[in-house]
Every structure is written in structure tokens, then in C-alpha cells.
């Protein structure tokens, strides 16, 4: 029982970061309507930014969070204006090829700038642990989980209480009608894409401490985010957190209870994606 609860706790803590990254992807998919294969590269940028601040200035990653949010928002905005906006009227395949190309470009740019070595941000509290009776909670994963929940809560408030947030939801539901009501869809897209990138950037800072920064660190998170978004329902923001929880718990349980599960953990999201797609196919006539 103790093992089961500890396993569930481990999964729960990981679900926060998954939800944060996947919410960004759901935003760009739900609001802008673009399948962004380069989403993980915004995460990678956040991780390298955190590493640079730590290595050059000794800046604690906690302080890098805000900077990474702003930087990723800015880059996301520029990417939207320069690359995404012109292809929005184009067929979906063109959009996907563009973001896939962007992903490769950003990875190789990072390879040129930083090399292929993994970089680690190692603050003094990196391995700090909280003990609750027989249970152990890593301070950094716990902090990342709480921060992710906090950010997602703020996003929810923004989407439900502010005019801009409501406009974003309106555009997500119907692309034509908000225009008739005077909502500038293009600005909403810009904001949504920037926000999506910013959320990934923040997650990148967290992962620079939990994992590492490397040119390819974001790729696996893009794939996992797709599985989460598919499970939640494409563009369904509310479903992202429970879907992230399902994936993280499934990974933790497989890793703990399946013989040789540690080697299979990276395959869990494929299974989740497969089941989600098959389930949807069965439900829709």
C-alpha cells in the first residue's frame, strides 16, 4: 500500500509539468488552430535560458521563471507574426510541415550554440526532500507541481474573467462569429500563441533543474503533450489537467508495477494516444 501511494505521489508531481506544457499546446491548437510540432523547442529555450542565467550570473532558477516567461512569450509572438500567420490560410499539412521544420531549425540552432552536451542547473536545494511519514516528496518536483497548478489557475481566471480571455475562448469556439462582434481574431491568435510558448518556457526552467537542458529535451514533451491533448479532446483546455494526470500516473504505475517497466515508461504515451484515438473513433459514428 505504501509503495502504491508513493507511486501515485510520484505520478501526481510529474503531472503538473505535463499539464503546463500540454496546456500551451492545447492553446495553440484550440485557439490558433495550428498543430505546433515546435512546441517542445520553446521548452528547450526556457531550459537553456535558465542554464545560462545560472552558469553566467549564478541566478537561481526561481528568478529565471519570469524572465523565461517573457522571453518565450516574445519569441512565440515573433514566430507567430513571422511564420505562423502567413500559413494560417494554407492547408493543414503545410502548417504542420512548417512547425516541424521550425522544430528542427531550433534544435540545430541550439546544437550550434550550446553543443550536444547536457547542461544541468544545480541549485543547492536540487535534491532537497520533504518527508511525510513514510512518504518522500522531492522539493523541486513538488515546487514545480505547485507552480504549474498556480499558473494554470491564473490562466483559468484569465480565460473566464478577463475580456481578452473571453475573446480567446470565443475564437476557440467559433472563428467567424467573434469577428462580427468586433474581436480582432489576429490579435487573439498572437496572444494565444505567445502564451502557449511562455507556458512551455516556464516548464523548461523547471525541467532544467529536474532533468537537464539539451537541444533535444523538448521533443519528448511535444510527443507527450500530443497524447495528453488527444486524450483531453483537441483544443479542450479543461480536459488537459486530468489527461496529464492520467498519463503521469500511468507512467508511474507502469514503471513501478510492470516487470521491466522502467524501459517501457516512454512507450506509455503511445498507448495513451492510441487508446484515445481508438476510443474517439468508436464513439463517433
Amino acid at each position: 500500500m505504501e509503495l502504491l501511494l508513493q507511486t501515485l505521489l510520484n505520478g501526481l508531481l510529474m503531472s503538473g509539468v505535463y499539464a503546463l506544457v500540454a496546456t500551451g499546446l492545447a492553446l495553440s491548437l484550440g485557439v490558433v488552430g495550428i498543430v505546433n510540432f515546435a512546441h517542445g523547442e520553446f521548452l528547450m529555450m526556457g531550459a537553456f535560458l535558465s542554464y545560462l542565467f545560472f552558469a553566467l550570473q549564478g541566478l537561481d532558477p526561481l528568478f529565471s521563471l519570469g524572465l523565461a516567461f517573457l522571453a518565450a512569450f516574445l519569441v512565440g509572438g515573433l514566430v507567430y507574426q513571422g511564420l505562423i500567420r502567413p500559413v494560417l490560410p494554407a492547408p493543414e499539412l503545410n502548417q504542420m510541415l512548417l512547425t516541424f521544420g521550425l522544430s528542427i531549425l531550433l534544435q540545430n540552432l541550439a546544437l550550434l550554440l550550446f553543443g550536444a552536451d547536457t547542461r544541468v542547473v544545480a541549485p543547492s536545494y536540487q535534491a532537497a526532500t520533504l518527508t511525510l511519514g513514510p512518504f518522500f516528496l522531492g522539493a523541486v518536483p513538488l515546487g514545480a507541481f505547485m507552480l504549474s497548478l498556480g499558473l494554470l489557475f491564473l490562466l483559468q481566471v484569465f480565460l473566464t474573467r478577463s475580456r481578452l480571455g473571453l475573446a480567446m475562448r470565443a475564437v476557440a469556439q467559433n472563428r467567424l462569429a467573434p469577428g462580427l462582434l468586433g474581436i480582432e481574431a489576429d490579435q487573439v491568435y498572437l496572444l494565444a500563441f505567445g502564451l502557449a510558448a511562455a507556458l512551455a518556457g516556464v516548464a523548461g526552467v523547471m525541467l532544467s533543474v529536474i532533468l537537464y537542458a539539451s537541444p533535444t529535451v523538448g521533443f519528448i514533451f511535444t510527443l507527450k503533450s500530443f497524447a495528453i491533448v488527444a486524450l483531453a479532446g483537441l483544443g479542450n483546455l479543461k480536459g488537459v489537467v486530468p489527461a496529464a494526470l492520467v498519463l503521469a500516473l500511468a507512467e508511474a504505475l507502469v514503471s513501478t508495477y510492470l516487470p521491466g517497466g522502467g524501459g517501457l515508461v516512454e512507450a506509455v504515451f503511445f498507448l495513451v494516444l492510441f487508446l484515445a484515438l481508438v476510443g474517439r473513433a468508436w464513439r463517433s459514428p
Binding site: L3, Q6, T7, N10, G11, M14, L111, G115, A116, D117, T118, V120, A122, Q126, A127, A128, T129, T131, F136, L137, G138, A139, V140, P141, I210, L211, Y212, S214, P215, T216, I220, E251, A252, L253, S255, T256, G260, G261, G262, G263, V265, E266
Partner: protein
């Protein structure tokens, strides 16, 4: 007289041209094994510079990146063979990638000087290939050296339980069953779990290990896994008496991280070794790169190029078969000790360079790696139990 002199100059020129040799180098300069790959390349380039400076042979290196990925390695190797048209290739650091290269190597038939690829799966794949020179010890050599250490831990320190984390590629998983049996024969209880290298997710497995309460946490994987394991072992409350790792290289700057303290591992070389060739290598490396490396792949690359140059000189030709014949009978001193080729222990390959005797154990102590076992190579006593608690 003038004609004779001109003829001599022409002959000398021809002789020089004969020993000018294009050598392909295929290494992981990106991906999970980039640290080892870059260290190896530094050693190779250093040795090539030294060889070219002597004027006895001229080596021209054509370097390609295999990306620690079989899918990238095969086209990169094909390019070396078909575009650059090299007859000699140095490479094969990662077992999985080298295994994938076995088909193309047999197809194009170069003299293949293998720097790593310890998995016996690779030994099997190259069985019978006549131009395969494997410098690095095989995995059964690594196991033998590690088992000697585990025997010592069992006998001298009363260690009884080992939890093994092994990456699920050929490097980590080949021979894991045999390894487990051997440890059990030594009197250990063993629990072994695979993991995906680079995933960074160890909490679930380490949590399960906690119930097992191992004396030794042993991981067989790559450098990217070192810090997540050291961190997450503490985060799940695992308290082994020794964290022991066997990656081909360690992460850059790991020694500066306090979490590395007391972590032990196995290596074939450290710059503090007192052998004369090693000291010479360290000096030359420092002069060229302005720093000292602790990666044993650097002297391994250096050794390969030096041995190749000697073989070229001995063969007096750049024909790959004649160079191979010369290499087969070569005797030389290296930073690791003496090198001579003999058939591998299983008899599957004909030219095996180093064996179990080059390995020794080290521990991260006060920010650097110190040899701790066997006693004749130790500069410090092993800290057992290590302090893996948070202070």
C-alpha cells in the same frame, strides 16, 4: 648528378605520398554519448597532429558524427565509404550504433579500428570479419573487473544487496542475466530493473528499490542519467551505502556538483596514473587543449591513431591489408599500459587489444575522481558507506 638528385627527390616524394593516408572517423559528437565522442576526437586529433609532425606518415582525418543514433550512423558511414573513399575507419563507440554498422562494414570492407562498443552482441556481429580491431575491453572484461570490486565490497565491507539500474539498449542490457548470476554466486541478493536512458524518470524504480534496501545502487547507462539518479535516489529516500555507476563517460562538471561526492565508478584511465605514456599524453593534451581531461576515451582515441601510425610505418604502405598485418603483430606502450592484439576470449574476433586488467575503480572525493581499487592503483581508501544524505 642533377638527374640523380631529381630522381631521389621524386622517389622520396612518392614514398611520402604512399604513406599519406585518409582515415575516416565516425563518432557520436551529438546525442547521448557526445561527451565520450568529443573526448575521443580530441585524442585522435592530438595523435594525428603528433604523427603528421614527425613526417613519417601523413594522416588526413575525415570526421563524421553518428549522432549516437544508428539511423544517422549508417548514412554517415556510407558517405565515408562512397564519397570520401576511405579504407580505414576509426569509430564504433556506442554498442547499439556499432551493431547497426556491422552490415555496412562487411559490405564495404574497411579496416575498422573500434574504440568502444563493449557489448558482446557487437563481438558476435563482427565474428569472422578479418579487418576488425577492437581496442576497448569487451563487456565480459568489464564485468570481470567490476565483480572483483564487488567481491571486495562483500568480503571487506559486508555488502549483501545490489540494486541494478540498467539502460535497455545493448550497452546496458547485454549480458545482464549473466551479471546477475555472477553477483548471486558472490553471495549477493540482486534486484535489476531496466530504464530508458535520457528519460530522467527514476523515482518509480528507486521507490521500489527502497523496499529492497540495497547496500549498493549500481547503474549501467550513460552520462545523462548520472545526475537524475543521484538526485532522485535522495528524493525517494533511498539510502544505499554506495552509488556505483558504469557509464562510458561522466557528465561535464559532475565533479563540481556536491551530489557527486562519494559516487563511485569504473574507468580505464585517469590523468593521475603514473605510467610514463600517460604522463606524456596528459602533457601533450594540456598543451594542445589548455586543459586536462578525465575521459578515458581521449587516450583511447590517441592510442588508436598512434598504433595505426606505427603500423603504417611498419607496413611501408597504405594498403589496408598490409596495415592490418602490421597492426596484428604490433607491441607498444600506451597510457593504459602495454598493447598487443590477440584473439578475443570467446574466439569470435581475431584482434582484441585491451582486457580486464586496464579497469580500476574510482570515487568522486572532494571534487575529483580518485582511484580507490584495486589497492595497487588506489590513491585513497574507498569511503564506504558513502554519505548520500542531504547535509
Amino acid at each position: 648528378m642533377r638527374k640523380a638528385l631529381g630522381f631521389l627527390v621524386l622517389l622520396a616524394g612518392l614514398a611520402w605520398a604512399q604513406t599519406a593516408l585518409k582515415v575516416g572517423v565516425i563518432l557520436p559528437l551529438s546525442g547521448a554519448s557526445a561527451v565520450s565522442g568529443k573526448a575521443a576526437l580530441n585524442g585522435i586529433q592530438l595523435a594525428a597532429d603528433e604523427v603528421n609532425a614527425t613526417g613519417k606518415a601523413k594522416l588526413e582525418l575525415v570526421v563524421v558524427d553518428d549522432g549516437t543514433d544508428a539511423a544517422k550512423a549508417v548514412p554517415a558511414f556510407t558517405k565515408l565509404m562512397t564519397v570520401d573513399k576511405v579504407d580505414i575507419v576509426i569509430g564504433g563507440l556506442v554498442s547499439g550504433v556499432t551493431f547497426a554498422l556491422s552490415g555496412p562494414v562487411k559490405q564495404y570492407g574497411p579496416l575498422f579500428l573500434v574504440i568502444g562498443a563493449a557489448s558482446s552482441v557487437v563481438e558476435q556481429a563482427f565474428e569472422g570479419y578479418p579487418l576488425f580491431f577492437h581496442y576497448h575491453p569487451w563487456d565480459y572484461h568489464n564485468v570481470a573487473a567490476a565483480l572483483q570490486f564487488f567481491q571486495y565490497l562483500n568480503r571487506e565491507h559486508g555488502a549483501k544487496k545490489v540494486a541494478i539500474l540498467y539502460e535497455d539498449g545493448p550497452f546496458g542490457s547485454a549480458g545482464i542475466g549473466v551479471y546477475k548470476q555472477q553477483l548471486e554466486k558472490l553471495g549477493y541478493q540482486v534486484q535489476a530493473e531496466p530504464y530508458k536512458t535520457g528519460s530522467g524518470q527514476f523515482t518509480a524504480i528507486l521507490t521500489r528499490f527502497r523496499a529492497f534496501a540495497p547496500d549498493i545502487l549500481y547503474w549501467i547507462g550513460y552520462d545523462v542519467d548520472a545526475l537524475p539518479i543521484a538526485t532522485q535516489a535522495r528524493q525517494v529516500g533511498l539510502r544505499p551505502k554506495l552509488i556505483y555507476g558504469a557509464p562510458p563517460s561522466w557528465p561535464i562538471g559532475f565533479e563540481r556538483n556536491p551530489l557527486s561526492n562519494d559516487v563511485a565508478g569504473m574507468t580505464a584511465w585517469l590523468p593521475t596514473l603514473s605510467n610514463a605514456e600517460s604522463r606524456r599524453f596528459v602533457e601533450a593534451y594540456r598543451k594542445k587543449y589548455g586543459e586536462v581531461t578525465e575521459e578515458y576515451m581521449a587516450p583511447m582515441g590517441y592510442t588508436i591513431v598512434k598504433s595505426l601510425a606505427l603500423a603504417v610505418e611498419k607496413a611501408g604502405s597504405n594498403d589496408k591489408n598490409r596495415i592490418a598485418e602490421a597492426l596484428a603483430t604490433l607491441r607498444m606502450n600506451t597510457p593504459f599500459g602495454p598493447l598487443a592484439f590477440k584473439p578475443s576470449d570467446t574466439g569470435k574476433t581475431r584482434y582484441q587489444g585491451f582486457g580486464a586488467d586496464i579497469w580500476f575503480q574510482f570515487q568522486y572525493l572532494e571534487g575529483s575522481r580518485r582511484p580507490v581499487f584495486p589497492k595497487d592503483k588506489a590513491s585513497r581508501p574507498l569511503r564506504y558507506p558513502g554519505e548520500y544524505y542531504l547535509r
